[in-house]
Amino acid sequence: MNVILLMMRGMKLIKLLLFVGMSLGFKQVNAQNKSTLILGTKAHVGNGEIIKNAAIGIRDGKLDLVMHSIDYRLDTTKYDTIIRLYGQHSYPGFISPNNELGLVEIEAVRATRDADEVGDITPQVRSLVAYNTDSKIIPTVRSNGVLIVQATPQGGRISGTSSIFNLEGWNWEDAVLKMDDAIHINWPSVYNRKWQNGTITYEENTKFESQVYELNSFFKKALAYTKVDFVLEKDLRYEAMRSVFTGDKKVFIHANNARELSSAIYFIKEQRIKSPVLVGAYDALLVADLLVDYAIPVVLRRVHELPLREDDAVDLPYRLPFLLAEKGVIFCLQNDGSMQAMGTRNLPFYAGTSAAYGLNREEALKSITLNAAKILGIEKEVGSLEVGKFATLFVSEGDALDMRTNKLTVAFINGKMIDLSSHQKELYERYMNKYGLEIN
């Protein structure tokens, strides 16, 4: 909470406090001060590598050992706990960008919706403070291996500022992994949607250019504002843009259509946006060269979606990850769309499907681990099983990208073993008991 108060005092202070706040946070999580050694799993490192029989050491919340068991001389005294899971698979915690998890509990109940603020341009509203660590949905998501989420405001032209959370913590201060990581722009649509008798017609949006112009001018005015030494009247919208211009806050631009994408890329260049990310990007193949040249990464539209156009190849959304990888575009996967929060638990299977449709399995894994971390700017902390990173990982009985075998044995967030039960599992157990059935 100190962090909010100090927000007003300028960026240097915020940075300092952010650092302090975060290290404090980690201390709390790791107060148990335990060390754990996991032996025998097939480690999917997240960077494309596999260690067939791995030894993974966790100490002070971080990974202090990741190597092949053969290379490791077993010294049980070095670790408080030894977990032997031979034949099982270990993974870095999966990362779900661009998600309203923690902000929306029940879509149909207005009182539980905190993702979409009134107003068109509201970069100052922050998911940070609305994020509900006690959402009943969270335990159901992390028990499938998704351990990190970018809680993201929705709607409007600039929806607000997202933060990245571990799916574990007493409150948002505990849970936050990266505070105020990005603003989110919904790029103007080239088409307006019109409905008639069950047919949706997209007609040209005649205001497209002027809407893009508005965005441009907002950025210009905000930049001018941040250059003034002494601000007489605070404008919270512009204040929220300061860290965008320093490059500390990323800019996520949500767009799908080819014309929108190229217009957004032009905007990125024109405004010299330091850390741009495109979100959705259904037509990314058409601008792939630009994305590679300008090193703009993509948070790809949900894999389990229908093609956007009737004439598109039936499996295009499934194959798109492979096709983009071929072009050299850096991308990760997400769960934007209907049933967004609760469907996050299916993120691993999107990677599985992209592997079925051309992507190498470890490459597919990257798209929900290391690449996601890179795109979110948290690759130094998480995203792979590498020494020095936070021990945010899990072990599954089998291939975690296939639903038949995605069955978590243990999971850790910042080294803390987390509870894999949930409201749903409790009900399951209760009713199996009611009918005298055995849980296998």
Binding site: K194, G198, T199, P307, V314, M339, D402, R404
Partner: protein
């Protein structure tokens, strides 16, 4: 007045005069002048042409037509040398002179009853009482367009409502409404569009269809009923007009099938006012001997110059653009009787050009002409006119400069009821040509007059320079203005064309300095018509292939069943044998004939072996086709009839849309059978359609004919409208308490209804004659079918209390819930469901999207299964529908169901729910050959469909899919090039926009007909 009566009386003896009831102000002006039109080329009826003919008319009637006719000396004679006479066109589908139809748009508040005042029908969209003749009032301003395009008459009605009342024949002239009105009850008009009605019911196409059927039944019953309780002027009118022809407007060719089904049910024929895509199924319509009114609303080419924009135009739209002008020619080829209307044109001036386009692409001039004259009269049995120019017939005709089929033909005059309307001046002098212009004997120019007779343009040559000039011709007065070379000032010349040959002009000119001068011009060359050259460069229209369906991933022919033997697959039988390794499956005549390892065909067919294709499936997995118990794909215009709490009368079967791309997409995921369910907007929803995904076929063929009836019920938040906004709080029920009472009330009503019929049917034939039969009620009939175990319920359900409630209601009323669908709290009452004998079709892992799914758990399927309930996973979602195998795999993850049992969740178990397990759901000899070949274990996330086979025909093949993609890309590119060329050649274009079908889910409740932005 008395004086007039006397005159009228005295005139009766001279009965050759036409009489009127109207008084005349001032002196009479009897219209007994004879007009003679000589030397014209007269088309007396399509195909009958008189060259150098003479037409005599008097008082609006043709008194003679022929060649070499004696022209009475008293006649006013017009010499029409070079001109042509045709019968005025008749528009069969117009709203000329009708009151404006004003739409109030969508109502934010519920409107449960009709807002029409008076003793009319309960539903506002049933406007059968509307009588166009009574509402008609000439509207001369809007007559100009039709007149210019050849139309002198139209059959008009008010285009509003599902029943639109009667249409009237009127002429487009303006003497008086009484004279313009020719025939009052020509046809009765119908549509599948509720129009301006804001009444909630019907909110969907299927509701409109049900309402139409119920209204016809009501009218039948109303004839026999004593009217103690109700006088219904609307039903009265329906009965009064039942012998008139019936015309229905439809918005696509699929609705022709839908309307024709209704017509067959009630034993009449509809004439169909189509939307221009009838060519897509012309052979079917010919077989059914349908008649059509077709528009000439050819779409403009899309402006595809920006490739990004062009991507949003679907192949279906492009293909329709290419073939739309061929519609009439194709219908004519199939000998379908049709007539043309101007309806649907953006601008009525497109009529003649588009009509000529039909001729250009192969329609005979004779049929083209009859489709606006004689055939209109014949189709609607017009009494006063027959579309021909004949002695004794009304004189309705027009004069044109050239054969009306030719592009340069200009209509000069329309003569309607014998009165003249000048459209273009017939006597305009053709001054086009090259002239030597001389001003004041000092300055010489060469003047070029070009353009059309009515739109001249002029240029002048001064030495090597060309100067633009303005020219105007009024009668024989000519005015020319221009700026001489190197001058700003404008020089103006006026003068007259000296003789009819227009070779010499002379007059005065005003110089810029104010001096008057003399000028003159002499023609040195006639205007050379460049038209011939134009047509030479114009690319002829070419017809594209018609695919089934006519869109991306369609084919020239639909897949046909083939005999095949699939070798060495891992066969998931869904029978006791479980999974058989390296086993062969023989498919013959669409059925599974043999299953076994290394089948020897020579043993199976010792005598004569039919043609059998060998399919190598080594390493592949073979399963029965996936069955989706709960789908909303392939539905036209509304998945919910949300206007009433009970809509058992509506049927998805009436609105199957066989052109939904999601059919193909689901085939690619191994789905072969789907139950297309009504939504969940009301406690008693509508009847289901059970279809096989036979991509390319019509809904009739997709429909599983042997399937029993099914119907959707629903409970919970949707039926009590919890999440529909704060205004939707009026329709009963609004609580779970009310829901129970809806069921009780409706089933008691159904029982009473059934009793009424039982009593009536028990009567002797003699007694029946004197008794009034009960009113046929489509809603209650469906409920009676449930009570008689002829119709099976699939009930949308979430929380345990309501599930329990409905089973109690069912038990006490004597029916059964066949399947609970969604059933996300089924795990809480699984024992009770088992006792009741209900099936459970649930989602693998959906929850938390609304309050009532807070206790939904992904283990639900596993628990129900383990308790002993036949359990399935369904999609309710077009996207999930194509990977139901993955959803089945979640039963392995959540609750540890075995793989074999999990796969049954999406195959055999839903087959049982659909009461179709005798035909589908397992690999068993004698069952339908609905088979999927997978690249690996179908429950694996890495599994991909290789082939989807329905009744022995391959509807999806992974290799053919690659070809189809190529075909789509090539066809798109071909059409893009064609459109670019059309644009280059000056065709008008439209901006590309995207169109797509809404994806329906259970709670999609968009109202019919209104736009939502």
């Amino acid at each position: 007045m008395r004086f007039i009566f006397l005159i009228v009386f005295s005139l009766i003896t001279f009965n050759s005069f036409t009489q009127i009831t109207f008084p005349v102000n001032g002196n009479r002006n009897p219209s007994n002048t004879i007009f003679a039109f000589k030397n014209a080329t007269i088309t007396t009826s399509p195909g009958e042409v008189l060259i150098n003919g003479t037409l005599l008319i008097k008082d609006g009637v043709v008194i003679g037509v022929g060649s070499g006719l004696q022209i009475p000396s008293s006649a006013v004679v017009y010499d029409l040398k070079g001109a042509y006479i045709y019968h005025s066109f008749i528009d069969p589908y117009s709203s000329y002179g009708m009151p404006d139809v004003k739409s109030l748009g969508r109502s934010p508040n519920p409107q449960i009853e009709s807002n029409t005042k008076g003793a009319y029908n309960w539903n506002e969209a049933i406007k059968a009482e509307t009588n166009a003749a009574e509402l008609f009032s000439a509207d001369l301003k809007s007559a100009d367009g039709p007149l210019k395009n050849g139309f002198g008459l139209g059959i008009v009605h008010v285009k509003d409502g599902i029943f639109r009342g009667t249409a009237a024949l009127v002429s487009y002239d303006g003497n008086s409404d009484n004279e313009a009105l020719k025939q009052s009850r020509v046809y009765t008009a119908y549509s599948f569009d509720k129009g301006t009605s804001r009444q909630d019911y019907p909110s969907s196409l299927m509701g409109i269809i049900a309402l139409m059927r119920q209204t016809f039944y009501d009218a039948q019953w109303y004839k026999t009923a004593n009217h103690e309780k109700e006088i219904n002027l609307t039903l009265d009118r329906i009965n009064e007009t039942e012998n008139l022809p019936r015309l229905i407007e439809v918005d696509d060719y699929l609705s022709i099938y839908r309307a024709d089904k209704i017509a067959k049910e009630f034993g009449f024929d509809f004439i169909f006012k189509g939307n221009g895509d009838e060519y897509l199924r012309a052979a079917d319509f010919a077989e059914r001997k349908l008649s059509m009114v077709i528009p000439l609303n050819f779409p403009k080419a899309y402006d595809v110059s920006n490739p990004y924009d062009a991507m949003n135009v679907s192949l279906a739209e492009m293909k329709h653009w290419e073939n739309a002008p061929f519609n009439a020619a194709i219908l004519a080829e199939k000998e379908i009787s049709f007539v043309f209307t101007t309806d649907g044109l953006e601008n009525i001036d497109q009529f003649l050009p588009n009509w000529r386009k039909c001729i250009e692409v192969g329609l005979s001039t004779e049929i083209a002409l009859s489709a606006v004259t004689t055939n209109v009269a014949k189709l609607f049995s017009l009494t006063s006119i027959d579309g021909t120019i004949q002695k004794g017939k009304p004189a309705n005709f027009f004069i044109s400069s050239a054969p009306i089929f030719e592009n340069n033909a200009v209509i000069y005059e329309q003569w309607i009821n014998g009165s003249q309307k000048i459209i273009n001046n017939r006597t305009t002098i053709d001054i086009r040509g090259d002239y030597d212009l001389n001003i004041d004997s000092k300055k010489q120019y060469t003047l070029f007059i070009k353009g059309s007779v009515n739109e001249l343009n002029a240029t002048m040559q001064d030495g090597d320079s060309t100067i633009k000039a303005l020219i105007e011709l009024n009668g024989n007065q000519v005015a020319l203005s221009f700026s001489p070379l190197n001058q700003k000032e404008i020089m103006r010349l006026t003068g007259h064309v000296s003789e009819s040959k227009s070779r010499i002009w002379a007059g005065n000119g005003l110089l810029s300095n104010g001096d008057w001068v003399k000028w003159g011009a002499i023609k040195k060359a006639d205007f050379a018509d460049l038209k011939k050259k134009d047509t030479a460069t114009k690319t002829p229209l070419t017809r594209g292939d018609i695919w089934f369906p006519n869109m991306a991933f369609g084919s020239l022919t639909t897949p046909q069943p083939k005999n095949m033997i699939i070798r060495d697959a891992a066969v998931w039988t869904n029978e006791d044998k479980g999974i058989l390794k390296e086993t062969d499956v023989l498919v013959v005549d669409g059925k599974i004939a043999h299953i076994g390892p290394k089948l020897d065909l020579s043993i199976i067919y010792p005598k004569k072996m039919p043609e059998i294709i060998e399919v190598d499936a080594k390493g592949l997995h073979l399963t029965p086709g996936i069955i989706d118990e709960h789908s909303h794909i392939a539905i036209s215009r509304g998945v919910n009839e949300s206007g009433q709490a009970n809509s058992a009368e509506v049927s998805i079967g009436d609105v199957v849309n066989s052109n939904d791309i999601n059919i193909y997409r689901q085939l690619s995921g191994g789905v072969t059978t789907s139950q297309l369910l009504h939504g969940s907007a009301n406690p008693i929803g509508g009847q289901s359609a059970l279809i096989k995904l036979k991509w390319g076929e019509t809904p009739d063929i997709m429909n599983i004919d042997s399937a029993k009836g099914h119907i959707k019920f629903a409970l919970g938040e949707n039926v009590k409208q919890s999440n529909w906004g704060d205004r939707k709080t009026e329709r009963f029920p609004q609580t779970r308490m009310g829901v129970e009472q809806v069921y009780f009330d409706d089933f008691y009503r159904a029982k009473e209804y059934s009793d009424l019929w039982t009593l009536y049917n028990a009567k002797s034939n003699r007694d029946k004659k004197s008794a009034i039969p009960p009113r046929k009620d489509l809603e209650l009939e469906a409920l009676v079918e449930i009570l008689n175990k002829q119709r099976f319920i699939t009930c949308h359900s979430y929380v345990q209390s309501e599930i329990n409630m409905l089973m109690h209601v069912a038990d006490s009323m004597g029916f059964k819930i066949n399947t609970f669908t969604h059933i996300l709290e089924g795990y809480k009452v699984a024992d009770k469901m088992k006792e009741h004998g209900a099936y459970g079709s649930t989602f693998s892992d959906w929850w938390a999207y609304k309050f009532e799914v807070n206790d939904a758990i992904p283990y639900n399927g596993a628990i129900m299964h383990k308790v002993g309930i036949t359990t399935g996973f369904n999609s309710d979602d077009a996207e999930m529908g194509r990977r139901l195998n993955q959803e089945a795999a979640k039963a392995v993850k959540y609750g540890g169901v075995s793989e074999i049992e999990a796969f049954k969740f999406v195959s055999l178990n839903p087959a049982k729910m659909l009461q179709l397990d005798h035909r589908i759901g397992s690999i068993k000899e004698g069952k339908d050959a609905d088979i999927v070949l997978w690249s690996e274990n179908p429950l694996s996330i890495y599994a991909k469909v290789q082939k989807t086979i329905i009744e022995g025909a391959v509807y999806f093949d992974v290799d053919k899919d690659v070809e189809l993609r190529k075909q789509v890309a090539e066809e798109r590119e071909r059409l893009v090039q064609k459109m670019l060329l059309a644009k280059k050649n000056g065709s008008k274009t439209q901006k590309p926009g995207k169109r797509e079908k809404e994806l329906y889910e259970c709670d999609t409740i968009d109202d019919e007909g209104y736009e939502v932005n």
